[in-house]
Symmetry: C2
Subunit: 402 residues, 2 copies
């Protein structure tokens, strides 16, 4: 049976609702609040793990069960000794349950009490995912944090649809917990090749609060989820197209009600401003594709705001993307060069912009943690948010010059 | 006027015709024989310069004048302070003249005594490139080694066509030399922003021997080229679709006739076997797109031969690409993972395979140099070439098993 818990969490400092803590996993310590780079198919697109570990010091990444299950498949990863060995990522790893990806397939899926039937986006084959299968796949992946299998309803769905969805999610949470516990107490279902590396008690399980934009549904979902009992709690079903005010209403109401001694994870959020705002409401963990996806389309996040690297205004600009950034891209490359790479469709454009964007997100979180520890979080939050508008102000100024 | 030569070259050891030497540039020492990774548009596709410098210790790369001239344009690079500053590459840089790229446009070009008129492959605009313009563009780029502007005739062209082409190349060599010298003696035409960084005497110029597969034309081209006088000599117009035997006949005949005290550069060559064979004939410098281009299509070069990373046989193979390779890709990632990345069309597939392939090419050259210095080159050459057939033998064995 479980001797040592798979993860422990401790809050070390508070500043208002904001909290700085430490999540201890068997694959290293994760300081919180933390941003998890997204490694969908077992790769944070375009990033070497060496750069993530050595330069950016990312302590945890997220991988997608849905994608890995379809390709290369759980059997391949099991045979290769789990996702860590398969990919070469040595630090903590969180896997989502596949629920959100299947939901985002839209017309291609059909949801029943038992689970979700859908067509693979790769080859169109019919597939079936359930709480039990999700737990089994995540056991084969051997991730450090496993997410319960949930249903994510559309943000603008009718209240009765959202209620049914929330109730289904809570039944699936229980089934996830049961299957997870049974898998943890045996080593047979895993891909670990050495006996010392079974998943026996090595994985943590997080529950997910759903309920759309309705606070009563959200609170009920929270009660049902905490009743099952998890190692951490996520708020799901936000940042899926709803108004920002809706998201903040839910986060502001629900976050302080989540168990204070467990990590709180806001799924799929968000912009740099969003991260800082969510921290101010008590969130500890984040994941988002923005730094990686936007990096691949020529957008850079900087301390002065977002810039489109392809813009003609950077054609002979020899300054780094962000003059206050110390990442290896900003230390070596100019806006003019990065623009040239983007316009030429060069691989290196994606590689460098992704690197810088992740550096900016991870550095922002480092500064968030420092400011909470030193009791300066509100000052940091104000100055950081003001800084993000500077490029916008420049643009306003230069258009009035013309 | 020139005080210190832009480059110096010294042969330190010989083993038969093979020679190990040192090319000293103002941007560092280059041990020869050397393989130059190709950085077409100012980027070695998918490679961070940090990895090229720090891990792979590439001392010199090649960039393409044609591509950079069309995009971002010589003016942009001039305004940004030359190609080194523009790209962030700090070590030695060789630029080709654009002659080969324009030739490879085929029907899009028209060659006259004055130069070559052609349509840009980017926007279809009419462009004109001549020896003088090529020298001017390469001065703006500020490369350490400039190539004379040549015409590369088709390998299977008739003797009279090849003679006219070779004679044109030798007239263009003279014009290249004249314009280059005039540019070197003035600083005005360059993009260098600080007076200490003029190209005044800072660039070296290499001539190119042409003549197709005809040894008499090749020898005449050699005489005419050495008569003009250059800092190094290249053999061009090979590895453009002719039979391998033709290439080796030319290389074997011409290389020992090239000035012994200058670096000898075989343009656009080749496979790992080709590099070792050409070294045995006295070649000092190489460039080739094979490691980078094949890396982007899922092919890996290893000490046991070339492998197609997408093959099903690697699906659960947890071994590195090359078990004798110490590169960061082989230290961390398995064939199974790399296959998954290739099949998923992930950016990282190109990044990692390019890295490994360049590591293999550069490491091969390191071993070539060591073996020449220790007088073991022929032993190395034999064992290396035998090793490259091992995967082929495996395949033969496994098919006979079936």
């Amino acid at each position: 049976m479980v001797e040592k818990p798979p993860i422990t969490f401790e809050v070390l400092a508070r500043d208002g609702e904001a909290r700085a803590g430490v999540l201890t996993t068997r694959r290293g310590i994760v300081d919180t609040p933390v941003f998890m780079p997204v490694g969908t198919a077992g790769t944070v697109k375009g990033m070497r793990f060496e750069a993530l570990e050595e330069e950016l010091d990312a302590r945890i990444i997220l991988c997608n069960t849905y994608h890995l299950w379809l390709r290369p498949g759980a059997n391949v990863i099991r045979k290769c000794g789990g996702l860590h060995r398969f990919t070469g990522w040595r630090r903590a790893l969180l896997t989502d349950s596949g629920g959100f990806q299947v939901w985002s397939l839209g017309a291609l899926r059909k949801i029943t009490e038992e689970g979700t039937r859908f067509r693979s986006h790769i080859d169109g084959n019919l597939q079936f995912l359930s709480p039990e299968i999700s737990m089994e796949v995540q056991a084969a992946l051997g991730s450090d944090i496993v997410m319960a299998f949930d249903e994510c309803a559309a943000g603008d769905a009718a209240p009765d649809v959202l209620r049914r969805s929330m109730e289904l999610t809570s039944r699936w949470a229980k089934r996830s917990r049961v299957r997870f516990d049974s898998l943890q107490s045996q080593a047979l279902e895993t891909g670990r090749t050495a006996p010392s590396e079974t998943i026996n008690g090595a994985q943590a399980l997080f529950g997910i609060v759903q309920g759309g934009s309705y606070l009563d549904l959200r609170r009920e979902s929270l009660d049902r989820t905490t009743e099952v009992g998890f190692d951490g709690y996520a708020i799901g079903g936000l940042s899926v197209g709803e108004e920002k005010t809706v998201m903040w209403r839910v986060v502001t109401d629900i976050t302080p009600r989540l168990p204070a001694d467990k990590p709180r994870y806001l799924m799929g959020v968000g912009t740099p401003e969003d991260l800082v705002e969510a921290v101010s409401r008590g969130i500890d963990m984040f994941d988002c594709v923005l730094p990686t996806r936007n990096g691949r389309t020529g957008q850079a996040f900087t301390s002065r705001g977002k810039i489109n690297v392809k813009n003609a205004q950077w054609a002979v600009d020899t300054r780094p993307l962000d003059e206050t950034c110390d990442c290896s891209v900003c230390r070596r490359h100019s806006r003019a060069y990065l623009r040239h790479l983007c316009l030429s469709g060069e691989l290196l454009a994606s590689v460098l912009l992704t690197h810088h964007n992740l550096a900016f997100f991870l550095d922002t979180m480092r500064r968030v943690r420092q400011s909470i520890r030193s009791g300066d979080f509100n000052k940091f939050r104000r100055e950081f948010t003001e800084g993000l508008n500077e490029f916008e102000q420049d643009k306003a100024l230069s258009s009035s010059d013309v």
